[in-house]
Symmetry: C2
Subunit: 452 residues, 2 copies
């Protein structure tokens, strides 16, 4: 039998998106008396918090990806469907996957977010973001290509632009990218080139607010900035990016306008709702915020549709302290688990109090041997924070897949400072041609929105 | 200084290609009083014997790749140049890299081979070969996409074609691919699907000669065939492929002509010389064989050009027992090291006896716990051969890069039967669309010849 749901099904739960929100909902329903269909565009769950490690050549994509089918192979009530949901019909209770319709009793939408250029979509060509494996491979290609091209460049100004790395956005991803690139330049690649001194590379981290890592306590923001600066990162706060074009970044600091010539600009700033957001809004009339995120009810359902839930980065949940919960993995996990629990309660005719996010704290890596950890009741920094960061990430990483190897690989690369995964692959494998011919790198065509 | 050779250079050796031949030549020249420039199109050395492990989701590309710069970072007389050589001028003794010329006193060409469809280049669309990282990623995509598409396919005949894997060529690569795919279907993926039984997948290995693994002793060929058959592989010898088109493979067995419907045909048959072969022939008038390989002199130089050498798969060396040496890694390594030694001798006004290949034996993996090893004086099979195979490969793999992690990862996946690296990435990430719309998968545009 090949139809996508049983012929006399129990309650049919359809989950769209295999990120943290969707996967944790599916796992929490594994033992429930429901049929679950998890639909994702990709065949793997991506552990996004470590994507910057792929972008900087420390880990391989597979190290931070788990095949959805093997994660859920023990959940006999769960089917994985590889495909893209292009429409939803709340009236007949179906989602469309290509030309095939999948019926649901309860729908959980967890398609996440993609990066946003605040309407300046042309910037993406020059400043790719980091959401998918393809994004990471492309970033890795640009970073290592820049050093290769600099090695061959005879013009001093061009060489300087090739050795200037600009990261836009001082959140965790920006901080982690900046730290990793600085270490690449000053340590990993130091002995590898003959014509350039890689440690002369400039790494700039640009943040619009008055400090990096705004979600953290101010002293940790200062600590993180100090660690980055000790690695040679030039941290610029209160700095607005007003244009990115032809390898020139234009910034505004107060009244002052400056330009930075850089061949490698990386985007770690804004995000917006994934495409499913629009579909939901059109089909259900639900309201959304400026970023296109869906406004959800206290139980994470959407107004007027108690059997449609939105969890994770696509959801705007503002019933806890007035402001929306941040788009981080722990929020998505807890939301997914809450909805799974609520669905089971409802089937028993019971209910649940509203969703309540338990913030267990924030972590950010700052270079290979330093991190900041803010658990509220305690704040860690430096090596111990780094070790804690490592432990927490590996813990979640190996939870549904045997990624012990990742920890070993990582400790290895930590102690040897070696980054073995610095392959330049994909469309453009030879630097000088694209750079010298049209002045910048081609865009990747393979970029995908997060999950579905 | 950014020019590619010193201004008062000692003897300038230019090596084109960072495969086994080129890299071993470069390493053997590390301490010599010469300047070395290694030119490669890619920034990494690829450990090709394990490429099939990437194609079948057991290893990541980075696990079997070593950045050329880090491999050679300690060789202070050696520069790595990332670029493609498009011409050679033996008169002025220069190679052209793009629009930039690199002078040489001694030139070592080691650009290897690419796969050959015996003039039937249209077959490549349906039956990709396995030479580059991109090839492996594309094969991996096709293999895992076939299972995904079968899971959704309602037509029994189409589903059977999706679950039929045809490997053309019974050499080591074909044998290793067939064994790995059979194990994927019967073990790794067994629990992951709900609509199909992956163990019903058909894996066919087609070989033109009367036995697989012709380089091995006949009893080992039989042993390998028996192991493959115990894994469920259908081994067909004395079988000629006469056509591959629209997912139909036409074969000829004696007078009998048959067709096989398969969505996944993998090419492990012929190879031909890489593009540099033609350039050499045009510029030096050297002779080549039917596969386009360059006929070399007893010292691996080419006739009339004692300072131009060809090593590895691009060379046809027939001065040992009349027939050309096989295109395997050990031959390339020994040839590279011989030329490095000869260059140093010549600088001292000395010479060397002709090149003499020392055959230390052949190895082939047959499934995850069985292999065949032919050392001439001893023949191994089964688990012990498998372990020997693993040891030898890891030994060479970690020789110039710390790939201990690979061994761990591997033993791990051997004991858990898990293959974590089965991401479907790249251009087509959703199976049903390309398959159902035009009946076959699109070709990859990213295929690259081996090395330069």
């Amino acid at each position: 039998m090949v139809d996508l749901h049983d012929n006399n099904p129990p309650h049919q739960v359809v989950i769209v998106g295999g990120g943290f929100g969707g996967l944790y909902a599916a796992k929490a329903l594994a033992k429930a008396n429901v049929n679950v269909t998890l639909i994702d565009k990709r065949n793997f769950h991506l552990f996004q918090p470590l994507l910057y490690q792929v972008a900087t050549g420390a880990l391989s994509p597979a190290d931070i990806s788990s095949p959805l089918r093997s994660v859920l192979s023990k959940s006999k009530n769960t089917k994985v469907l590889l495909g893209e949901v292009n429409d939803i019909d709340p009236t007949t209770q179906k989602v469309m996957v290509g030309n095939q319709s999948v019926p649901y009793d309860t729908l959980i939408v967890a398609t996440g977010a993609k990066h946003s250029y605040f309407g300046k979509d042309s910037w993406e060509t020059f400043a790719p973001g980091l959401k998918t494996v393809e994004d990471a491979i492309e970033m890795r290609r640009r970073i290592f290509m820049a050093f290769e091209a600099a090695e061959k460049e005879t013009d001093a100004a061009k060489r300087r632009a090739l050795l200037t790395f600009v990261i836009v956005g001082g959140g965790p991803t920006g901080v982690e990218l900046a730290g990793a690139i600085a270490e690449l330049a000053t340590k990993t690649l130091k002995e590898d080139f003959r014509n350039i001194d890689t440690s002369e590379a400039r790494v700039l981290l640009l943040e619009g607010l008055d400090r990096i890592l705004p979600p953290f306590a101010p002293e940790l923001s200062q600590e993180a900035q100090a660690s980055l600066e000790s690695l040679g990162v030039d941290v610029q706060t209160k700095t607005l990016v007003t244009n990115i074009e032809n390898d020139i970044v234009t910034i505004k600091q107060g009244e002052e306008v400056k330009t930075i010539a850089s061949k490698t600009v990386l985007w770690a700033a804004g995000v917006k709702a994934s495409a499913m957001g629009k579909v939901l809004i059109e089909r259900t009339g639900v309201e959304s915020d400026r970023a296109g995120r869906v406004i959800v009810e206290p139980d994470l359902s959407i107004k007027g549709h108690p059997n449609i839930f939105v969890v994770g980065d696509l959801a705007n949940f503002a019933h806890q302290n007035g402001k929306p919960l941040p788009g981080v993995a722990p929020v998505a996990m807890q939301e997914g688990e809450y909805v799974a629990k609520l669905v089971q309660k409802r089937l028993k005719g019971e209910t649940l109090p509203q969703f309540n996010y338990v913030d267990r704290g924030s972590l950010a890596m700052v270079g290979q041997h330093s991190a900041v950890v803010d658990l509220g009741f305690i704040k860690l920094k430096g090596f111990f924070a780094w070790f804690f960061w490592l432990f927490v990430h590996i813990y979640f990483l190996i939870e549904f897949d045997n990624k012990l190897v990742v920890m070993i690989q990582w400790l290895w690369s930590y102690f040897t400072r070696n980054r073995g995964a610095r392959l330049i692959t994909g469309k453009e494998t030879i630097a000088p041609v694209p750079i010298e011919s049209n002045g910048h790198y081609p865009t990747v065509k393979t970029r995908q929105p997060l999950n579905v």
